[in-house]
C-alpha cells in the first residue's frame, strides 16, 4: 500500500516537473499563437477599424458577413484557392517522387556524398528570407517574374529549341515544365533529408538477406525500401501540402497579406480562417486515404 502511494507521488512529481519544463514554451505559445489565433477568429466575425483615440482596434460584431462576402462576392478568393489546390495535384507527387529518388541516391556510399547532401540542402537555407527577396526582386528578374526558374525560362534553352525548329507553343510548354520542375526540386530540401534519415534506419542485413534469397534490386525496392519509407512518405506529403499553402509567393497568401497590410483585418482574418480550413480538410483527406494503408505496411 505504501509502496503504491510512493509510486503515485513519484509519478505526480514527474508530471509536475514536466509541466514546469514546458512552462516557458507554453507561455510563448499562448501569448504569441493561441491568443492571436482566437482574436483572429473573433475579427473574422467583425468589422474591424482602427481608432485614433485608443491603442488597438475597434471591433463590431457582424456575424458571417465577412465569410459571406468572400464566398459569394469575392471573385478572386475562391478561384485562387481552387488554383492552389489544383497545383497540389501535380506538385505533391513530383516533390514526393523527386525526394524519394534523390534520397535513395544520396543514401548510397560514394565519394563526395557529404558535399552532395549539402548541395541539396542549401536551397532550404537560402530560399527563405531576405536573400531570396533581394535576388528575386532585383537581380534575377529585373522586376518582372518572381520565380527562380526564370533563369531557365529566359535563358539559352528556349532559344536553342526555337532554333532547332520546334514550334513556339511546344517550346513554351517545355520551358514552363522545366521551370516548374526546377522550382519544385528547389523546394524538396527538407523532404530529401527526411527520406535519407529513414533510409539510414533500414538495416543493411535485410538487403543482404533478400539478395541471398535471389531478389534483384527491383524486388528489394518494393519489398524492403518501399514499406520502410511509406510512413515518411505520408509525413512528406503533409509537409509539402503545408509548405506550398503557406508559401508567401502563393497567390492566396499574397492576397491575404495585402489585406492584412491594408488594414482589412476582418476580411483578412476570415479569408485566413477559410483558407486554413481548406488546408486542414485536404490534410484530413490525405490521412483518411493513406494512413491506414501506410501504417499497415510499416
Amino acid at each position: 500500500m505504501t509502496g503504491r502511494l510512493k509510486k503515485m507521488s513519484v509519478e505526480r512529481n514527474r508530471v509536475r516537473a514536466g509541466w514546469l519544463f514546458m512552462l516557458p514554451w507554453l507561455i510563448g505559445l499562448v501569448s504569441f499563437f493561441i491568443v492571436p489565433l482566437l482574436s483572429s477568429l473573433r475579427y473574422s466575425f467583425s468589422d474591424v477599424s482602427i481608432s485614433p483615440e485608443s491603442i488597438g482596434l475597434q471591433t463590431k460584431f457582424v456575424g458571417l458577413f465577412n465569410y459571406e462576402f468572400i464566398l459569394l462576392r469575392d471573385a478572386v478568393f475562391l478561384r485562387s484557392v481552387t488554383d492552389a489546390v489544383l497545383d497540389l495535384l501535380y506538385s505533391v507527387p513530383v516533390v514526393l517522387v523527386f525526394s524519394i529518388f534523390i534520397g535513395l541516391l544520396l543514401n548510397q556510399k560514394f565519394r563526395g556524398r557529404a558535399f552532395m547532401r549539402a548541395v541539396f540542402f542549401l536551397p532550404v537555407i537560402i530560399a527563405s528570407g531576405v536573400v531570396m527577396k533581394i535576388i528575386q526582386s532585383d537581380v534575377f528578374t529585373q522586376n518582372t517574374v518572381s520565380e527562380a526558374s526564370s533563369l531557365f525560362q529566359t535563358g539559352a534553352i528556349e532559344e536553342m529549341m526555337t532554333r532547332a525548329g520546334l514550334p513556339q507553343s511546344i517550346v513554351s510548354v517545355i520551358t514552363a515544365v522545366t521551370g516548374g520542375v526546377f522550382d519544385l526540386s528547389w523546394k524538396s530540401g527538407i523532404q530529401i533529408l527526411l527520406f535519407i534519415s529513414t533510409l539510414q534506419g533500414v538495416p543493411p542485413s535485410w538487403y543482404e538477406a533478400a539478395s541471398i534469397e535471389g531478389a534483384n534490386a527491383w524486388d528489394s525496392f518494393w519489398k524492403i525500401t518501399f514499406p520502410a519509407i511509406s510512413p515518411t512518405s505520408l509525413l512528406v506529403v503533409v509537409y509539402t501540402v503545408i509548405d506550398s499553402f503557406t508559401d508567401v509567393s502563393n497567390p492566396v497568401m499574397m492576397n491575404m497579406l495585402e489585406r492584412f497590410s491594408s488594414f482589412y483585418y476582418g476580411f483578412a482574418s476570415a479569408s485566413a480562417m477559410l483558407y486554413f480550413l481548406a488546408v486542414m480538410l485536404i490534410i484530413g483527406l490525405i490521412f483518411l486515404v493513406f494512413s491506414r494503408r501506410v501504417f499497415h505496411n510499416a
Binding site: W25, P123, I126, S128, Q142, F276
Partner: protein, 281 residues
C-alpha cells in the same frame, strides 16, 4: 557474376550523372547570385542573363560600403543588432524547445495529446495571421521598439519543438528508466541523459532557428534606427531603384554568408542526426 558487376558500374555512372545534373540545378541560382554580386551594373541587365561576370568587379561591394558609411547609424550597430538578436533567439529557443519537448515525448499526462495537436496546427499558421494581434499584445505591455519585441515572438516557434519531440520519441525508454532507477531527478535525467542523446537534432534546430532569426526583418515592431537589424537596412538600400541592383546582389551575398557558415560548421552534425534518427533501439 561479371555481368552483374558491369551492370552496377554502369548504374553508378548513371546515378552519378543524374545527381550531378540535379545538383547543378540546385546550385545554379547560388552560383548566379554569387556571380551577380561581382558584375558591373550593365552586365546585370544583360539579356539573356549570364551566369558568371565577364568583367568581375568589386564595385558593388564598394558602393554598398559607401552607402552604409553614409548611414545615420553606424553599420556596426546594425551588425551588432543582427548578431545579438540571432544568438539570443537561437540560444534561448534551444533551451526552451528541448525542455518542452522532453515531457511531451516521454511523459504521459492529461492534456498531452491536446498540446501535440496544437503544435501541428501551429505549424500551418504563418506569422501573417497572428502578426496583428501579436503587435497589439506587445504594445499593451509596452514592449514595442525593444529587442524583446524582436526576440520573444521567435521563441514561440513550434517547428523546433516538433522536431525534438519526433526525435526524442525514437530514443528507447529503457535508457531513461535506468536514470530513474538510479534515483536521478527529472532535471538530472534531462541534462545528463536526454540532452546528450539528442545532440544531433539540436544542431538541426540550431540551423533552422539561426537561419530564421538572421533573416528576421522586424519592420513593424521596431522603429528606432538603433534597434534595426541588417536585413532591414540591406533591403532598404538595395531596393531603392534600378541603379541599386548591383548593391542588391552584393547585399544578398553578404546576407547569405552567415547562415551558410553556421550550416557548414554544424553540417556534419546534421547529417549525423539523419543517420541517427532512424535508429530505433
Amino acid at each position: 557474376m561479371a555481368k552483374k558487376i558491369n551492370h552496377s558500374i554502369l548504374g553508378t555512372v548513371i546515378l552519378g550523372l543524374v545527381l550531378l545534373l540535379f545538383g547543378t540545378f540546385m546550385a545554379l541560382p547560388m552560383i548566379y547570385a554569387v556571380g551577380s554580386a561581382f558584375k558591373p551594373l550593365e552586365e546585370i541587365f544583360l539579356f539573356p542573363p549570364r551566369l558568371l561576370p565577364q568583367n568581375p568587379t568589386f564595385g558593388n561591394f564598394k558602393q554598398m560600403q559607401d552607402l552604409l558609411s553614409n548611414l545615420w547609424v553606424p553599420f556596426e550597430r546594425y551588425l551588432f543588432n543582427s548578431i545579438f538578436v540571432s544568438l539570443a533567439s537561437t540560444g534561448l529557443y534551444l533551451v526552451i524547445a528541448t525542455l518542452a519537448a522532453y515531457p511531451l515525448a516521454k511523459h504521459s499526462f492529461p492534456g498531452k495529446n491536446w498540446i501535440r495537436e496544437i503544435i501541428t496546427i501551429a505549424l500551418m499558421f504563418t506569422a501573417s495571421v497572428t502578426g496583428v494581434v501579436q503587435y497589439l499584445l506587445m504594445s499593451m505591455v509596452g514592449m514595442i521598439n525593444t529587442y524583446a519585441s524582436v526576440i520573444l515572438p521567435s521563441l514561440a516557434n513550434t517547428m523546433g519543438v516538433f522536431l525534438c519531440i519526433q526525435y526524442l520519441s525514437t530514443l528507447p525508454d529503457s535508457m531513461l528508466e535506468a536514470g530513474k532507477v538510479d534515483g536521478a531527478g527529472e532535471f538530472r535525467i534531462f541534462a545528463r541523459l536526454v540532452l546528450p542523446n539528442i545532440r544531433p537534432v539540436l544542431f538541426t534546430v540550431l540551423i533552422f532557428q539561426f537561419q530564421a532569426a538572421w533573416n528576421m526583418a522586424p519592420g513593424g515592431v521596431v522603429y528606432s534606427e538603433e534597434l534595426k537589424t541588417l536585413p532591414l537596412v540591406l533591403s532598404q538600400i538595395a531596393t531603392a531603384g534600378i541603379s541599386r541592383a548591383g548593391v542588391g546582389s552584393a547585399a544578398a551575398l553578404v546576407m547569405m554568408l552567415p547562415p551558410i557558415i553556421v550550416f557548414i560548421i554544424s553540417q556534419s552534425k546534421v547529417m549525423e542526426t539523419m543517420a541517427h534518427s532512424g535508429i530505433k533501439e
